[in-house]
């Protein structure tokens, strides 16, 4: 049985505001995740993921396993010792930050100039989204736009992909 669809009802466009909301949620989610993961006693893995190995490999302390590295292994031991002494993640990380400077953190801090690191990508995305919305609006209003084609109804409600069917029929015609 072919299911016949009702004539199409034009969809209301998603507003730019909706888009902004969606993006804001993305930002919040991405910044909020690690907080949620933080427990009372930090795991050595978590702490050593937050620190960059200083052997020049560019990996985190948790990950560096270069045979030539003299930094990661002793640091991992040290971190475990500090956790056993009851130090918190923040305390351990700031200990290393005092010792080696900000470059030991594996991600930028979330305040001051570094906040730009986190916000700019999402800002750019938002800007891109807004640009799409405005361009789409202009395209819709464009005076040189041909009259809108009849609403797709029956054809698109057919059980088969109308595009595929059209192509198949076209192919057969060409072949014949």
């Amino acid at each position: 049985m072919i299911v016949r669809a009702k004539p199409a009802i034009p969809m209301r466009p998603m507003r730019a505001a909706h888009l902004a909301c969606a993006l804001a949620i993305l930002v919040a989610a991405s910044l909020g995740v690690p907080r949620a993961l933080a427990g009372d006693r930090p795991s050595a893995e978590q702490v050593s993921q937050a620190l960059t190995c200083q052997c020049g490999c560019g990996l985190t302390v948790a990950n560096c396993n270069m045979p030539t590295c003299g930094f990661a292994v002793p640091t991992r031991h040290e971190i475990r010792r500090m956790i056993d002494q009851g130090k918190s993640q923040v305390e351990i990380i700031s200990f290393y930050q005092r010792k080696y400077g900000e470059k030991v953190l594996s991600a930028p801090t979330t305040y001051g100039f570094n906040l730009l690191a986190w916000t700019t990508p999402f800002g750019a995305l938002l800007l891109g989204g807004v640009l799409i919305v405005f361009t789409a609006r202009r395209w819709r209003r464009a005076p040189d736009t041909p009259a809108p084609a009849p609403a797709p109804s029956d054809a698109e409600a057919a059980p088969f992909d109308p595009e595929l069917r059209r192509k198949l029929a076209e192919d057969l015609r060409k072949g014949g």
Partner: protein
Amino acid sequence: MPDLGRLALAIALMLAIYSIGANVFGARRARPEFVASARHAIWAMCAMVTIAVVALWTGLLSSDFSLEYVASYSSTTLPTAYKFTALWGGQQGSLLLWTWLLTIFTSVAAFQNRRRNPALAPYAMAVLAGVAIFFLGMLNFVTRPFDLMAVIPAQGTDLNPLLQNYWMAIHPPSLYTGYVSATVPFAFGAAALISGKLDDGWIRSTRRWAIFSWFFLTLGNLFGARWAYEVLGWGGYWAWDPVENAAFMPWLVMTAYLHSVMIQERKDMLKVWNLALVGLAFGLTLFGTFITRSGVISSVHSFTQSGLGPYFLSFLITVAVAYTGLLIFRAKELRSPAEFESYLSREAAFLFNNLMLIGIAFAVFWGTIFPVLSEAVRGVKITVGPPFFNRVAGPLALGLIFLMGVGPLIAWRRTTASNLVKSFAAPAIVGVTTGVAALAAGLRAWYVLTAFSLAAFVLGTIAVEFRRGVGARRHMLAEPAPTALVNLIAKNNRRYGGYIIHVGVIVAFVGIIGSSFFKTEVKKSVRVGQSFTIGAFQLRYLGLSEHDTSHMETATARLEVSRGGREVAELAPAKLFYKREQQPATRVAIRSTPVADLYIVLAGLDDNGNRATFEVFLTPLVFWLWAGGLLMAIGTVVVMWPNVRERAAIAAAVARAAPAALEGDPAPGGE
């Protein structure tokens, strides 16, 4: 031989300069004989660079240490295969490889267009020759592969041990092929802008080039990841290192282009955008080379650092300014009547897909250069590492995966609510069910649950697509299901090849999620005969064997791996010591299954090898990353497959089916 190589590079540079002049003159004055002459110059240029490559290879294989390059990157004890791959193990050689690929692709493009595109092709060839001039200029004047040693050493320094790996034999050539072939679409885009022939001729001429480039960028990235997995010994394959990012960004932009170009082909929209994307992709390949070689940004992969940075940066800026200028100059002519009806349309899905892809590319770019900005603005060195990229690109990736599901099922122009429900009901149910099942199985991380649900949703939409297509053929042509499936793919290879690539992406994505979120690690020191456990596996240290050659020392530990008391494998991780460089390295042992990889690093040895320390990773699903990559490769081959038998098959189909019945609606009784 060195003299020959030097001479060949000098001649190649002159030929490149000549071919620009002859191409432009021939095109402007409509003098085809000049264009033909320029074409011959391009072929001769390619031959010259080939001679230079052969000369350097000869030097490497014969350990001719009078050559500085050979003395720096090879040695007499280096295995022959790595003498061969040392061509791209160092700065000058890898630039030579780059230039060689560029001249080969330019020659192929010149051959393809010898009778086509008379108004466009000469300019494209001129642009390609212009890029070749930059690289040949570097090879002739700045970083010369055929420089000689003042004193000929008895032995060479050897190839970096990390590069003595078989993935390094194929990763750089693949990545370079991807990088360099992106120059061809760029050149034709620039040619369209220069010549004012702004129809979709440049797109048609380079469609295969763009897919070819994407294919090799995909492979290059995957091979690089595989190399990192096997060589760096930390159980991972991707660390958001600047050089990895540099290879990833052109891939993202090329992916965006391959999608947005479909809108232009179909609706003649987004002309400026598509031209911008090919320019961006090419610019990013230069940016990648700049990062790798300038030393501006430190990286584990920067094996060669040099003063090339300023040259690449200047070239990059020149290209960017010139290309942007051309785009602005032609902006009026590029305007086209655009139509856009609804956000519930495939156009919109593609637009947002491009937003996500470029958004991710920008986030990666931003994170890569932010340390430089920080140092310039605050004077403070900072690191932007994996936690940043995972948190920023992670959510965007989910958005992209979602759109991968939406795009294919949603109609062009607009979709009705009822259609939307009909198309997406089944995939949505599959997605939600998967999420609930994962929750019931004990998974709690929101990202993992969302990722698995979306992956299932996308696979559901692709299944719906295939089912519809097969259904249509069965219904209209009365083909049995397997035949219908094969014919469906064969006759619509672009579309269904694309879906195969999508399946590959999802499979790889599942592998990435599994391996990122569920990796476990055990570090254990044991004596010979002792055992330890990771997951369901028992590992027993059987003993050590040592092996000594003039090239390196190898200490191999043997481990018996058993599960439930039954031996399943014997693995042999090793510690290596390269004598020439006096540098240790590690050789990991991996037992890979679809469920999980057991990955063993021999971390330390004491007491004459009677005691060994192992670092063992159990990484679930990582197998699927490589399997997904293979599927993506297969899908791309399907997409590129020349569709020549279509006509014959159609003629045969016509003989079987009555055309009249096909023009109207399908008979009732479908679904």
